[in-house]
């Protein structure tokens, strides 16, 4: 037992022996140590091998956006501060700890996303489900660590190196920044991954030397313990192990000592296994072929109600439902529905189904029906807000998300959207479309000087205007009312403009926003209508 304390302690065997009894009292679990110690030569590789996936940038990765400057902000005592910034944002100087306003000043087009631990947990669970293909034992260790027991999977996946490569490339494809480590104990693997060591340790004998040099922050201990240890000059795990055990336990808690022992394999470290949530699937078989759409819809509703019951008892919701209509001769007709937010309400699903079902063409009568629920996630019950509303709403009304969903179900997602402004002088680029279903973005709309005249209608592209006697024509000769406002910008990219904008009115009383190019061919264009 004493020898395991490491070389530094070897000179004080006697003292350790004396105090072993105290430690035993403190740590009733410290017994199985000898077993590991006794067979180091006989058992070269550990029976269990733990693969740790550590996701340092999970808050950022969970947003699912990668191709624009993005930062995740967190409310810290009333101030929104940057928690993490992606590469594009970091390149502009956006750093963790800055206030959201500072980030907006540095990079006006940055998207600021509020941290959502719920979404992070969901992402982690989805990842755990994905990792189940590599091992029968996947465990969610903490809010950013996943553990796999892979000793049993090595042969199937063609060795450690292949398995590791497959996990790494899969994570990369899904857009996760991950640090991977393999060690005989779960904690050692976690600490090595946190230290970004890319370690791959199969034997207990190699574990201690690797762990010794790890800095203390890899342990994710409470800040108080961390500061106290650093103040004592203890900066690595090796330093910790050199401290007298009972004094260490007394000062920093027996839990810390147990953790160290578990990491080194002296104590067992049982873990809870992750089980991916169940999915609903139900069939309805008919006694004879049916083509009555009303009846089919009623059966769908019945299945949806069963689906709701299933989800309700498990406190789950789903964002996807697939219907399958089986025919005797023709191949089955499929109908998939996606939702902007997870739900389980049969009433809401049935309404959306009704809209989709109207346009569904069934080649033949239906003999059987199947409802397959999509991946489920925990559905947080939300209390409805108190009605402080300026007018009482009729009871059968529905929310904005439901309205947007209904419209999108009929016309497609791209036919329903919102808009926002962009800080940009080029008129065509000073706005962009905004998806209504996405997470809430707290970026403020760009400021617009009130004295600059901008039209309410913008043409999709500037329309060329014919010219007569030096003035452009639009239903006759136009009269210039105001201008010019010179916009000369964007020379740094391909869409640079050099234009003189005027406000004009045509003989029909339409007020136009027209411009003349300042290039050699000084043509006139119509860009907008004041409306």
């Amino acid at each position: 037992m004493q020898a395991r304390e490491g070389g530094a302690a070897s000179g004080s065997k006697a003292r350790h022996k004396r105090r072993a009894a105290d430690v035993q009292q403190l740590l009733p679990l410290a017994a199985p140590e000898a077993e590991v110690e006794s067979t180091p030569a006989v058992q070269p590789a550990s029976k269990r091998l733990w693969f740790c996936v550590y996701l340092p940038e999970l808050p950022l990765d969970a947003t699912g956006r990668r191709h624009s400057p993005l930062a995740v902000v967190e409310d810290q005592q009333g101030v929104h501060r940057i928690l993490l910034a992606n590469e594009m944002a970091a390149a502009a100087g956006v750093l963790p700890g800055q206030s959201a306003n500072a980030a907006l000043a540095l990079l006006p087009e940055i998207e600021l996303e509020e941290r959502s631990t719920v979404v992070e947990q969901q992402t982690l669970e989805a990842l755990a489900t994905w990792l189940e293909q590599f091992s029968s034992f996947v465990s969610i260790a903490s809010r950013d660590v996943l553990l796999l027991e892979i000793a049993g999977s090595l042969r199937l996946f063609g060795g450690l190196r292949h398995l590791r490569r497959r996990v790494a490339s899969g994570l990369e494809q899904q857009g996760f920044a991950a640090s991977l480590s393999i060690a005989p104990t779960p904690l050692a693997a976690t600490w090595l991954a946190r230290g970004n060591r890319r370690a791959c340790i199969r034997k207990f004998a190699n574990l201690l030397p690797k762990l010794r040099s790890l800095p203390l922050h890899c342990l994710d201990w409470p800040p108080a313990a961390h500061t106290a240890l650093t103040g004592m000059g203890v900066t690595t795990i090796g330093d910790c192990l050199r401290l007298p055990r009972e004094a260490f336990a007394k000062r920093f808690g027996a839990g810390r000592l147990i953790e160290l022992d578990r990491a080194l394999g002296r104590l067992p470290d049982p873990r809870a296994s992750w089980r991916s949530p169940e999915r609903f699937c139900a069939d309805y078989e008919m006694t004879e072929e049916q083509s009555d759409r009303e009846l089919l819809l009623a059966i769908c509703q019945e299945l949806l109600e069963a689906h709701e019951q299933f989800l309700l008892t498990r406190q789950l919701g789903t964002q996807r439902i697939d219907f399958c209509f089986y025919h005797l001769k023709a191949p089955a007709t499929k109908l998939s529905m996606g939702f902007t937010r997870p739900d389980r309400s049969a009433r809401r699903f049935a309404e959306l189904l009704g809209i989709r079902f109207e346009r569904l063409s069934l080649p033949e009568p239906v003999i059987a029906l199947r409802l397959q629920g999509g991946p489920t996630q925990l559905l947080k019950a939300e209390s409805s807000r108190l009605s402080f509303d300026r007018r009482s709403r009729p009871s059968e009304c529905y929310s904005m998300t439901e309205l947007a969903e209904r419209l999108a179900a009929r016309f497609g997602d791209d036919a329903v959207n919102g808009v926002t402004t962009v800080a940009e002088h080029r008129p065509q680029k000073a706005w962009r479309q905004r998806a209504l279903s996405g997470g809430k973005t707290i970026g403020q709309p760009a400021f617009m000087r009130p004295d600059l005249k901008r039209p309410l209608w913008l043409l999709p592209e500037p329309a060329h205007l014919p010219v007569e006697a030096g003035l452009p024509l639009h239903f006759g000769r136009v009269t210039l009312l105001e201008g010019p406002e010179r916009l000369e910008t964007g020379w740094w990219d391909e869409d640079g403009i050099a234009r003189d904008y005027y406000m004009a009115v045509n003989p029909r009383g339409m007020r136009l926003w027209i411009f003349r190019n300042r290039s050699r061919s000084a043509d006139w264009y119509l860009d907008g209508i004041f409306g």
Binding site: C397, L407, W457
Partner: protein, 215 residues
């Protein structure tokens, strides 16, 4: 004939009697932001929970400007009711792109804007009806290609159901078609300014307003 006149009063008190020009029209309108116009409208503003038609020969003569002050007010947070979310403003099948920087200059809350581009005319109506009756839109603007008497009735009912304000933009040629709209305005512009011709106003009188925007 004192006796007769008092029995007439009594008769008029009967709620089943509807008078064309009702003196008891009390529903407060949505202030249009134009004093000249508010003065002519019953309820001193746009009629709420109903259909308004604006008839123009072409776009760009101020038909949007006419609505901007009212829409700005509808989309703004109410300082007196801090927790109430303002309603949405839905634009169904706009002929061009509504330009966000200009909308912002008019103090429209951009985060409350919903733009829907349905594929054909019947879907324009369907979307507008959905938006109106959802109860989440405080105003719905639509640009239908055609609008029958029946369609206008449907919109009117949906607006009542969702307590929303519906504004339909139509060509001047629709003036002679019957419509269930509470307010119908023909708009035209010339070298002097923009002129309104209110030719149907439920609870009000037909009236013309010239040079609306200039003072």
């Amino acid at each position: 004939m004192r006796h007769d006149s008092s029995s007439l009063e009594k008769l008029l008190e009967n709620p089943r009697v509807w008078r064309g020009k009702s003196q008891t029209w009390t529903e407060q309108g949505i202030a249009s932001g134009f004093e000249k116009l508010d003065r002519q409208l019953p309820g001193s503003g746009w009629p709420p929970n109903s259909l308004t038609e604006i008839l123009t020969e072409q776009y760009g003569i101020g038909e949007l400007q006419l609505l901007m002050p009212a829409l700005s007010k509808l989309s703004a947070d109410d300082p007196l009711v801090p927790y109430a979310e303002p309603g949405w403003i839905a634009w169904v099948a706009p002929p061009f792109q509504p330009y966000p920087p200009a909308l912002q200059q008019w103090r429209i809350n951009l985060s409350r804007l919903l733009i829907v581009r349905p594929k054909d005319d019947s879907e324009i109506l369907w979307s507008a009806e959905q938006a109106l009756s959802s109860g989440t839109c405080s105003a719905v603007l639509l640009w239908p290609e055609t609008l029958s008497d029946q369609d206008s009735r449907r919109l009117q009912l949906a607006a009542e159901k969702g307590s929303s304000w519906c504004i339909a933009f139509r060509p001047l040629s629709a003036r002679n078609q019957p419509s269930a709209a509470a307010l119908r305005i023909a708009m035209r512009a010339d070298g002097h300014g923009t002129h309104l011709d209110i030719f149907k106003s439920r609870g009000g009188q037909p009236v013309s307003i010239s040079n609306l925007f200039s003072g």
